[in-house]
């Protein structure tokens, strides 16, 4: 198969995903807008005004904005691919793709692109909402953009792996509830890990979301608890490992072919 047909196939999956996201926008785009508005009102305005500056020169609401945007990116990129791909498995229309000439990497990149786009759309929505509560600075545009992109890719791939192994809808709800949400809350969204004592600071450093939130915060505010080199190594490492797992699952047909 030459590059042309693969590109058309990739575009077809991506377009189908985007159409789906926009068709059911009340399920895909609206919830994050409402949830994040509540976070800004409660944690930013009501609680944040009493906390004051968490880092010298940075107000609490400014401090939590990057983390809240990342929280939206993580849950949406993960949720998009896990529900869409598992839905295709459940409704058996995944067979349309498995019985086609498309190579596995085209299927994977098409679905990941759809999930990343949802993550980026929601990130833009949350960013716009945040402007009603604070002023956003952009200290390092490329770090900001690359971090949000890498984070969306990592969690899209993780959602894909979850969808491949899932046998029922409960299986795709378990990970966000019992893994993603706790890791996000403990990933330095609302506080600096430097405020934690031993051993909690060291334990927090095992949480990959900590690196993503801090890299994004560095891009927007120019402050971070961790080194950017380590943050990029973690994000690229996770993306590469999960992409390898996803491709292997597709090539072997695990959870997809009998």
């Amino acid at each position: 198969m030459s590059a042309g047909p693969n590109l058309i196939a990739y575009g077809t999956i991506t377009r189908r995903e985007v159409v789906r996201i926009l068709r059911i926008w009340m399920q895909t785009l609206l919830p994050s807008a409402i949830t994040m508005t509540l976070y800004f009102v409660i944690f930013g305005r009501m609680v944040g005004s009493r906390i004051g500056e968490i880092v010298p020169g940075v107000g609490y609401i400014d401090y939590i904005v990057p983390g809240l945007i990342m929280m939206a990116v993580i849950t949406n990129s993960y949720g998009n691919i896990s529900s869409s791909f598992f839905g295709a498995k459940f409704g058996r229309h995944v067979e349309e793709m498995l019985a086609s000439p498309m190579p596995s990497w085209v299927i994977l990149t098409g679905y990941v692109t759809g999930a990343v786009l949802r993550g980026l759309i929601v990130a833009a929505i949350v960013l716009v909402i945040s402007l009603f509560f604070t002023r956003i600075h952009l200290y390092h545009p490329w770090i900001t953009l690359s971090t949000v992109l890498l984070t969306a890719i990592v969690f899209a791939l993780a959602g894909f792996v979850n969808a491949v192994y899932a046998k029922k809808f409960d299986d795709i709800a378990l990970v966000p509830t019992f893994v993603l949400t706790p890791l996000t809350y403990l990933g330095g969204v609302f506080y600096s890990v430097n405020q934690l004592g031993t051993p909690w600071r060291e334990i927090s450093q095992a949480n990959p979301i900590l690196y993503m939130v801090n890299a994004f915060r560095y891009g927007l505010l120019g402050i971070s608890d961790i080194s950017m080199t380590v943050a990029y190594a973690v994000m690229i490492g996770f993306a590469a490992a999960l992409a390898t797992i996803g491709l292997t699952l597709l090539n072997r047909g695990i959870g997809l072919r009998s």
Binding site: M1, P5, A9, T12, G91, R92, H93, P101, R257, S258
Partner: protein, 315 residues
Amino acid sequence: MTTIPALDVVELKKTYANGVEALKGITLRVEPGDFFALLGPNGAGKSTLIGILSSLVNATSGDAKIFGVSIRQQRSAAMRLIGLVPQEINFNMFEKPFDICVNQAGFYGIPRAEAGVRAEKYLKQLALWDKAFGIARAMSGGMKRRLMIARAMMSEPKLLILDEPTAGVDIEIRRSMWKFISGINAAGTTVILTTHYLEEAEQLCRNIAIIDKGRLIENTGMKSLLSKLDVETFVLDLAQPQAVLPEVAGVRFTRIDEVTLEAEMSREHDLNSMFAALTTRGIAVRSMRNKANRLEELFVRLVETGTTDAAKVAA
């Protein structure tokens, strides 16, 4: 000069994880342009074979070539040659039929503009154009089956595999589907059909394979197979009720009800002698029809005994 077969299956085996041996070494050849029936009782292995050919099931061993292209060595190239109409409805119920067809073409690398033209062509040919922009879920069962045929045609495959395409479809729609598929075959597409409507297979197909318990038990021409059937059964509608079963040499009568009899006889036995014998006994026959589809009779005997010899039944 030897032609490359449309399908060349060699020693294909499939054992599922639970230990079930669905295919125990199938070897099969389908010539280009053929209209081929693949029959077998439920659980015989037909859908597993089709699943392997369409890369939805991983074979345990053996190989299959589509127009000389190995499904195991060159999966993408082989899939490009196949169109599949599966047994179960497997499109996204929340999408529009037009989008389902256009997306399918996209998966095969067909540009969107060309895909739109093809979608219109095949949806019109299958009388679905007026439903093209509604939600697929709202369509009737027959429409959904026709949509799967239109979808399979989007890549204009050289080999079209139809796994029970007319299951649960009323006779009128079934006939329109036969007409469409026959047209596709006449235009050069090789067609493999599995069906439980044996009348369908007898009418449409030129060659036939019968699978049972994962093994091929028959693979021959339709005419050749049907010629093996030596017994035919007729249903006789009598003018008056008949209390006692008549006894006629070479014919075995069974009673359906007071005015209906079944007469099973050798194909070599002529009907005139049976009617003469009935007339002598004062039995008038008002009308007569062939009871069963001939292929159905052969199929049942083949599956029950596993040999074609069993088809020869002494009258």
